[in-house]
C-alpha cells in the first residue's frame, strides 16, 4: 500500500515512494553507463590516433583557444553547483529556490554553448573545419593528421554540446512541475535524475578539455 497517497505522485505499479525513487535513480545510473560506453567508443578512437600521431595532434591542438576552454570549464563546474543546489532545494520542497537554481543552471549552460559557438565560428573562419576546405598553416604537422585532430575536436565537442542542449531541454521541462510545487521529500526523483545527467555531461567536458586543449603543453612549447 502507498505510504502517502495524498500526493498522487506514486505511480500505480510501485508499492512505496522509496521503491519508486530507487527505481528511477537506478534507471538513470544505468542510462549513464550506456552514455559512458557511447562516448567511450569515441575516446577509444581518440586514444588510438593520438598515440599514432602525438606530434601532429599537439601542434593542431595549439590552434584551440585555451582561455575560452578554461572559462567554459569554470562555467560548467558552476552549473553543476547550481544543479546540486536545485536537487537539495527540491528535497526540502523550497519551490522558488528550485526554480531559481534550475534557471541558473540553464543560464550557465547557455553561456557555455555561446562560448562554444564563438570558438566554432573562429575555427570556421580559419579553415579548420574538416572537409575539402581544411587548411592548417603550421610547421611540422601532417595536414591529414591535423585534420584528424579536428575530426575529434568537432565530433567530440559537438556530441557533448548536443548533450548540453538536451540537458537544457530537460531543465526547462522541470521548471513547470517545480513552479507548481510538485517536488518534496517523497517525490523529487525527476530533479535528482536530471541532476545526475547534468553532472555526467559536465564530467565528459572535464575529460575533453585536457585531451583536446592542453595536449600541446608538454610537447615542444
Amino acid at each position: 500500500m502507498p505510504e502517502h497517497s495524498q500526493s498522487g505522485a506514486l505511480a500505480h505499479h510501485f508499492e512505496t515512494y522509496d521503491q519508486q525513487r530507487e527505481a528511477s535513480s537506478l534507471g538513470m545510473w544505468l542510462f549513464l553507463v550506456t552514455e559512458i560506453m557511447f562516448f567511450g567508443g569515441f575516446f577509444l578512437a581518440y586514444i588510438v590516433y593520438r598515440s599514432s600521431f602525438p606530434e601532429d595532434f599537439a601542434i593542431a591542438s595549439h590552434q584551440l583557444d585555451v582561455t575560452l576552454g578554461a572559462i567554459n570549464t569554470a562555467v560548467l563546474i558552476a552549473s553543476s553547483l547550481t544543479m546540486a543546489m536545485a536537487v537539495r532545494a527540491s528535497q526540502l520542497a523550497q519551490r522558488k529556490a528550485v526554480v531559481g537554481f534550475l534557471i541558473a543552471t540553464m543560464i550557465f549552460g547557455g553561456v557555455f554553448l555561446g562560448i562554444k559557438a564563438v570558438e566554432y565560428s573562429a575555427k570556421f573562419e580559419h579553415h579548420l573545419v574538416p572537409g575539402p576546405n581544411f587548411e592548417l598553416h603550421a610547421e611540422g604537422a601532417d595536414p591529414g593528421h591535423a585534420e584528424m585532430f579536428f575530426n575529434f575536436y568537432f565530433g567530440m565537442t559537438g556530441l557533448h554540446a548536443a548533450h548540453m542542449v538536451i540537458g537544457i531541454g530537460l531543465l526547462t521541462w522541470l521548471c513547470f512541475p517545480a513552479w507548481k510545487g510538485r517536488f518534496n521529500a517523497d517525490y523529487h526523483n525527476p530533479v535528482e535524475v536530471v541532476g545526475l545527467y547534468w553532472h555526467f555531461v559536465d564530467i565528459i567536458w572535464i575529460f575533453l578539455f585536457p585531451l583536446l586543449y592542453l595536449i600541446g603543453f608538454h610537447v615542444g612549447h
Partner: protein
C-alpha cells in the same frame, strides 16, 4: 502463493488486459507491458516476413549457378537487407520485446515494468527505426552487407547507407530502453519471497541479455554515428587519407556485434530452460550453474570480438588470444546444454509442441555451437573464412537457436497471452516441418563452405549446384513450416478456439497462477513466493485441461 483453485477457474475472466479498454487509441497509448508485447509481436512479425522474403529471393537466385534472376548489384542489396532486417528488427527484439515484455513483470510478481512509458516509447522508437529502414529499402536499398565495413560504406558505396545506418542507430535506442527497464524491474520490483535464486531461469537470461544490451549497444551507436558523420560531414575518423584506420571500424563494430549474438541467443536459452522443466516435470538440473552460465556468456561475449577479424590484419598475438577466449564461451554454453539434457533424464517427458521446439533447439544449437568452436580455431577459420560454412554456422545459432526458442516460447505462452489453445496436430506438423526444412536448408551449406563456396556472390561454379538446389528446396519447406502458425494461431482466436484455463500445461511459475489472459495489473493480489522456480517434485501441479488441445 495462491492456492490451486484451478478446477473452477477454466473459464476466462470477464475483464482482462485485452478487453479492459477498447479502441485503437487504447492500444497506441497503452502503458500495459502485456499490450506492448502484443504491439511488438505484430511489428516483429511484419519484419520477419519482409526479411524472410529477401531470404527467399536469395535462395531463388542461388538455384542456378549463373546470376540470372537478379543483377549482382541487386543481389548485394538483397543479402544486406536480409541481414539488417533480420538482425536489428527481428532477432534482437523478438524474444526480449515480445516474450520478455509480457513475462518479466508477471514472472517476478510485479504489476508492470519499472518504466511503463519508456516501454511504450521503445516500441515507437523501434517503429521509427523500421520506417527509416523501409525508406532506405524503397529508395534503392543498401549494398554494404549488414556489417557496414569502412571505407566501402563511408566513401565508395552508392547506396542508401546513411538512412540504413540511422535505422540501426535508432533501433539500438529501443533495445536500450527495453534492457534498462528489465534490469531495474528485476532489481527493484520482485514480489515478496521472490529471491534471486527463486527466479525462473528466463529472468536470469533476460537479465544477462539486458546487461549486454546496455554495455554493447551504445558502442554500435557511436560506430554508426561516426560512419554517418564521415559520410555526411566529412568527419573522417576512418578515412585512410587522414591517417584513419578502417580496421578500427571493425573493432568498434564487432565489440557490439559479437555480443549481439548473445543478445539474440541468451533469451532463447531462457525460454528453453522453462520449456524443458515444464515438459519434463522436473527441476532444471544445476539451476545455479545454468543461471551463472548466462552471466558468464554475457561477460565472455565481450572479450571475443576479434575472432571476426582473423583475416583483417590484426596481430597474430591478438588473434591467438581471441581464439582462446572464443573457446572459453563453449564452457558455459556446454554447461547449459548438458544441464538441459540431464533435466530430461528420468523426467516425465511429454511431446507437446513447445517441447518439440525445445528438443530441436538442443540439437541445432549444439551443431551451431560446435561449429563455432571450429571457427574459433585460427587455422580452420582462415580456411573457411567468408565461405558458406560461416553462413551455415550462424544460421544454426540464429535460426536453429533463436527462432526455435522464440517459436517454442510463443507456443508455450500463447494460451497465457490470448487465453486460447491452438490446434495440437497442426502445430506439431509445423514444428517438425520447420526442423526438417531448416536442416535441409543449412546443412548443405556447411559442405558447400568446406568445399570453398564463398558467401555473398550471386553466381557460383556449376559443381556446387546440387547442394544449392537442396538448400533452396529446404528453404521452401522451412517457409511452409513458418507460415503454418499464422493459420492455427489465427484460428485459435476464432469461435472454435478452445479456452485454455489458467494453467493448460500444469506448469509452475507465477504466470500460471493468474488468469489467462491476465488482468491489467497481472494479479488480483501481489503474490507471495514460497517455492523455488521449478518445484515440480513438491507441488505436482495439474493441467487445467485434461486434453490441452483442440483435437
Amino acid at each position: 502463493m495462491s492456492s490451486t483453485t484451478a478446477e473452477s477457474a477454466i473459464a476466462p475472466p470477464k475483464v482482462h488486459y485485452l478487453n479492459a479498454e477498447h479502441g485503437l487509441k487504447s492500444w497506441l497509448l497503452t502503458k500495459d507491458h502485456k499490450r506492448i508485447a502484443i504491439l511488438y509481436l505484430i511489428s516483429v512479425s511484419i519484419f520477419f516476413l519482409v526479411g524472410g522474403l529477401f531470404a527467399g529471393l536469395i535462395r531463388l537466385e542461388l538455384l542456378t549457378p549463373q546470376g540470372d534472376l537478379v543483377s549482382g548489384d541487386t543481389y548485394n542489396r538483397l543479402f544486406t537487407l536480409h541481414g539488417v532486417i533480420m538482425i536489428f528488427f527481428f532477432l534482437i527484439p523478438a524474444i526480449p520485446a515480445v516474450l520478455g515484455n509480457f513475462l518479466v513483470p508477471i514472472m517476478i510478481g510485479a504489476k508492470d515494468l519499472a518504466f511503463p512509458k519508456l516501454n511504450l516509447g521503445s516500441w515507437y522508437v523501434y517503429n521509427i527505426a523500421g520506417l527509416l529502414g523501409i525508406y532506405a529499402m524503397i529508395k534503392g536499398g543498401v549494398d554494404t552487407g549488414w556489417t557496414f565495413y569502412a571505407p566501402f560504406s563511408t566513401t565508395y558505396s552508392n547506396s542508401y547507407v546513411v538512412p540504413t545506418a540511422l535505422a540501426g542507430f535508432v533501433a539500438g535506442f529501443s533495445s536500450i530502453m527495453t534492457g534498462l527497464n528489465f534490469i531495474v524491474t528485476i532489481h527493484r520490483m520482485r514480489a515478496p519471497g521472490m529471491t534471486w535464486f527463486r527466479m525462473p531461469l528466463m529472468l536470469w537470461s533476460s537479465y544477462a541479455t539486458s546487461l549486454i544490451i546496455l554495455l554493447g549497444t551504445p558502442v554500435l551507436a557511436i560506430t554508426l554515428l561516426l560512419l554517418i558523420l564521415e559520410r555526411t560531414l566529412h568527419i573522417g575518423i576512418f578515412d585512410p587519407k587522414l591517417g584513419g584506420d578502417p580496421v578500427l571500424f571493425q573493432h568498434l563494430f564487432w565489440f557490439y556485434s559479437h555480443p549481439a549474438v548473445y543478445i539474440m541467443i541468451l533469451p532463447a536459452m531462457g525460454v528453453i530452460s522453462e520449456l524443458i522443466a515444464a515438459f519434463s516435470r522436473k527441476r532444471v538440473f544445476g539451476y545455479k550453474f545454468v543461471a551463472f552460465a548466462s552471466l558468464a556468456i554475457a561477460v565472455l561475449g565481450f572479450l571475443v570480438w576479434g575472432h571476426h577479424m582473423f583475416t583483417s590484419g590484426q596481430s597474430v598475438y591478438a588473434a591467438t588470444v581471441f581464439s582462446v577466449l572464443t573457446m572459453l564461451v563453449a564452457i558455459p554454453s556446454a554447461i547449459k546444454v548438458f544441464n538441459w539434457t540431464a533435466t530430461l533424464h528420468r523426467g516425465a517427458i511429454s511431446y507437446d509442441t513447445p517441447m518439440l521446439y525445445a528438443l530441436g533447439f538442443l540439437g541445432l544449437f549444439t551443431i551451431g555451437g560446435l561449429t563455432g568452436v571450429m571457427l574459433g580455431t585460427l587455422g580452420i577459420d582462415i580456411h573457411v573464412h567468408d565461405t558458406y560454412f560461416v553462413v551455415a554456422h550462424f544460421h544454426y545459432i540464429m535460426v536453429g537457436g533463436t527462432i526455435l526458442g522464440y517459436l517454442g516460447g510463443l507456443h508455450y505462452w500463447w494460451p497465457k497471452m490470448t487465453g486460447r489453445l491452438y490446434n495440437r496436430f497442426w502445430s506439431q506438423v509445423s514444428a517438425i516441418t520447420i526442423f526438417v526444412g531448416f536442416n535441409l536448408t543449412f546443412f548443405p551449406q556447411f559442405i558447400l563452405g568446406f568445399q570453398g563456396m564463398p558467401r555473398r556472390y550471386w553466381s557460383y561454379p556449376p559443381e556446387f549446384q546440387v547442394l544449392n538446389v537442396l538448400s533452396t528446396a529446404g528453404a521452401t519447406v522451412l517457409g511452409v513450416g513458418l507460415i503454418l502458425p499464422l493459420f492455427y494461431f489465427a484460428a485459435s482466436l476464432g469461435k472454435k478456439g478452445r479456452v485454455a484455463g489458467p494453467n493448460p500445461w500444469g506448469a509452475i511459475g507465477l504466470e500460471w497462477t493468474t488468469t489467462s489472459p491476465p488482468p491489467t495489473y497481472n494479479f488480483e493480489e501481489t503474490p507471495v513466493v514460497t517455492h523455488e522456480a521449478y518445484a515440480y517434485e513438491e507441488l505436482h501441479p495439474e493441467p487445467t485441461q485434461k486434453e490441452p488441445y483442440l483435437a
